[in-house]
């Protein structure tokens, strides 16, 4: 077990190193930066700023400086906000985490319930409806789904606020504040859930269908167990196990995927921050966030694999 974790950690560091080269390389390729893009600055001032931010040094040197700082947890200063990238990210990350975790929760709950029911009633009307519905959910461009929902629920019906996290100018506190946030969360979470639920439902349905045909399910039935026990204890447990590793992909993908949704709903999360940083070419922030995603991906993959190793007796690590 220990050896396995160490091996994985070593490998993880290597992968992250590769990713950092890739990320830095991509940004270094880009002509123009925060300083160049600001027409108000004089040439002298530009040169001064460039020296200050180290933008005048060769690429390789800049990379190692950046990497050296990054390893110490310092991703530099956001040029736009004049704040350390890490503190900026940690400020906004919780807002993102709020809608990401809420939608993950709903996605999994809905996907498990619907997936199991449709697998136990394969070829029924319900099953066909679920199948088509799942494909529909997978086929919406995320931004279009967001736009449609805002247009319909916020603009036309006026049931929910069209964006933001709190009503502009509101100074609600306590429960009223919580309620206001929930009100604003509703639509973005709905969109994220809708976008994610399709493929996960398909996953659970396929998995359950496969498991229900296995010999040990026949044994469970032959033992005279209740159908509920057979489906929810014997089959579902087996279907859930491999899904643990999915979680490892889901989480980072959700942060990546929520970028669009956050932008559309004007939700003050890292995605929104990221999109703004884009238009202003705030490279330290962009690189910091991209690196954060890469770290999140690698770490959550490792955690998911370890969790799976603990949960599944067949691969239980020694």
């Amino acid at each position: 077990m220990k050896a396995y974790i160490i091996r994985r950690l070593l490998y993880m560091v290597l992968t992250l190193f590769g990713a950092s080269v890739l990320i830095f390389g991509l940004y270094a390729l880009t002509p123009g930066d925060f300083v160049d893009n600001n027409p108000k600055l004089t040439d002298e001032r530009k040169a001064e700023l460039k020296q200050m931010y180290g933008l005048d040094k060769p690429v390789v040197e800049r990379y190692f400086v950046w990497l050296g700082n990054a390893v110490r947890g310092d991703f530099g200063y956001s040029l736009q906000y004049q704040q350390p990238v890490t503190s900026l990210l940690s400020q906004y990350i919780w807002n993102s985490f709020l809608i990401a975790s809420a939608s993950t929760l709903f996605t999994w709950l809905i996907a498990i319930v619907i997936g199991v029911i449709s697998a136990t009633r394969q070829y029924s009307f319900f099953d066909s409806a679920v199948t088509i519905g799942a494909f529909a959910a997978m086929s919406f461009p995320s931004f279009f789904a967001g736009l449609l929902i805002i247009k319909f629920f916020a603009v036309d019906l006026g049931w929910f606020p069209p964006g933001g996290m709190i009503t502009t100018g509101s100074n609600a506190t306590g429960l009223a504040y919580v309620w206001e946030v929930i009100d604003h969360m509703f639509l973005p979470v709905l969109v994220l859930t809708m976008l994610g639920v399709g493929s996960l439902t398909r996953y659970f349905r396929t998995n359950m269908l496969e498991i229900i045909r296995q010999d040990f399910i026949r044994t469970a039935r032959a033992k005279g167990l209740k159908e509920k026990t057979v489906v929810y204890k014997h089959a579902l447990r087996n279907a859930l196990l491999p899904a643990i590793t999915l979680l490892g992909f889901e989480l980072p993908a959700l942060f990546g995927g929520a970028i669009i949704t956050e932008k559309i709903f004007n939700w003050p999360g890292v995605g929104q921050l990221y999109m703004q940083a884009f238009s202003l070419r705030d490279y330290p922030l962009l690189m910091g966030f991209t690196m954060f995603l890469a770290i999140l991906t690698v770490v959550s993959n490792l955690l998911a694999d370890l969790l799976y190793g603990v949960a599944d007796p067949r691969v239980r690590l020694k």
């Binding site: 990713a19 086929s139 449609l148 603009v155 396929t206 995927g257 991209t290 995603l293 991906t297």
Partner: protein, 308 residues
Amino acid sequence: MSSIVTETAGLAGTRTGARRSSLWRDTFAKLKKNKVAMCGLVFLVIMFLFCFIGPFFSPYASGKVNTVMINKPPSMAHWLGTDNLGRDILTRLMQAGRISLTVGLAAMLLSVFIGSVLGVVAGYYRGVVDQIVMRFADILMTIPGLPLLFIIGAILSEWKVPTDYRIYIVMLMLSLIGWPELARLVRSQILSLREREFMQATESLGLRDHRKLFFHLLPNTIPILIVVATLRVGGAILSESVLSYLGLGVVPPTPTWGNMIDAANTLIDFQKRPWLWIPPGFAIFATVISINLLGDGLRDALDPKMKR
């Protein structure tokens, strides 16, 4: 593939054309029974006709600016209304579809090509080549697709790539982020096929390497490639639309479904002129769902045991 057919045909001598493709005929027969998948297929054909032939029947195909007819809601003359330059939305939808479908198809072809070549090389030769290819794939896969696309898209904007070329570059970008997953898939297929007894039989028969590769290994990965490739087109169309919507992909005046929805970024168009941005959104949705349904049908027909 063609060399296989000719060589085997030569080997077996008198063979009727009808028998030749019986495995594919079986597949198609199975697919035909799947009503949902057939609906998808039929719709896709209609969509293609609509986009590629439709403009020839439209009186507004020239796309001339018409200052009198700006932002008009749907009417008898303009079924889906007109845009801020007075162009017919329906016609633009067709022209945009050409680009979106082409980008989707081309990106798929390119990523399938790169992915399968690298996957085959990695899986067949293993060792160092395998390590290099797969580690590189791993690194690319650590960054979620969208942010990676945004970065590359932003670079493009900075390089001031002429708008005419951007569509090719978008294709390249999409295949660049698409290939690692395909390479992994093909590699794992090759690795598991190698363990099958018929591959050991080729060793026992003393067949040459190229024969093992092109007659035994590759033909057996084609079914799964077809399915994944089909689904890929849908994914590429979706990604392209996001990029173009954000102005990081194909940019006007070249129309795509994605950048048509860009109209929604103006508050007044978004709230009051839904005919500007809802039709392209539904065109994307309908195309992608058809592709997904067809792909799922193909999966069932080609290999029912295959999992996603």
